[in-house]
């Protein structure tokens, strides 16, 4: 059971959160101009990296806010939680 830091509510049990996929996949502003392959990149292709990843969470049974977090997908350690739109911090060494 992860302990996740919500930027507004502080540390809460994973039960209150919902994982919402990789972060910084901004929805293209004008999808009509994209090729099918580019649109598929946005829809289905993912880094799926083993290491520090930037991902989205929502404190769904809490303040209800979406936010981003930096987590290591081998150790499941969180390095940081940061609000949507804020610059993402560099992963620790």
């Amino acid at each position: 059971m992860l302990l996740i830091h919500c930027p507004w509510c502080g540390e809460r049990a994973e039960l209150e959160f919902r994982h919402c996929g990789e972060a910084h996949l901004a929805r293209p502003t004008n999808p009509a101009t994209l090729t099918d392959a580019e649109w598929a990149e946005y829809l289905a292709f993912r880094d799926n990296h083993r290491g520090w990843v930037r991902e989205r969470w929502r404190h769904v049974h809490g303040c209800g806010r979406f936010f981003n977090a930096l987590r290591h997908t081998l150790t499941d350690r969180f390095a940081a939680s940061y609000k949507t739109g804020e610059a993402w911090p560099e992963p620790p060494a």
Binding site: M1, W8, C9, G10, R12, A13, L15, E16, H59, H61, G62, C63, G64, R65
Partner: protein
Amino acid sequence: MVELREMPPLRCTLLQAAAEVAATLGHALPAPLTATGTMLWLGPEEWLLLDEPGVPQGPASLVDVSDRYRGLVLHGAGAAEALNEGCPLDLADAAFPPSSCTRTLFGKAEIILWRPAANEWRILVGRSFAPYLLALLREVLDDLPPG
């Protein structure tokens, strides 16, 4: 011993707005994760008003949600232990002091947990989840060790 009772029907409005607009409603804004007598902080730019909302000066959302919740009250020294049967929060005085308020979980129901006083815990739960929550809490209270 811990006593469980239902609250009378609520009169409440869900307010969403920038803090400065919310402040124009004439209520003292509660700090994050706390509640005043009439206003519960639920999230950044989100509050539950327990009485007449008034008119905000600026873009805001006011929605009557009076019948959305039913209220329960747990009273007594063992209330925190009973709540920790289904709620993962640290409810010790240091972590959840009186006037604390937040959305969280009890078992499989989402609740608003509000601690207006040291030994008084109020739970607001979605109307259709109230029977489940009451039955679960009653079983918990039956099993609490006496004293």
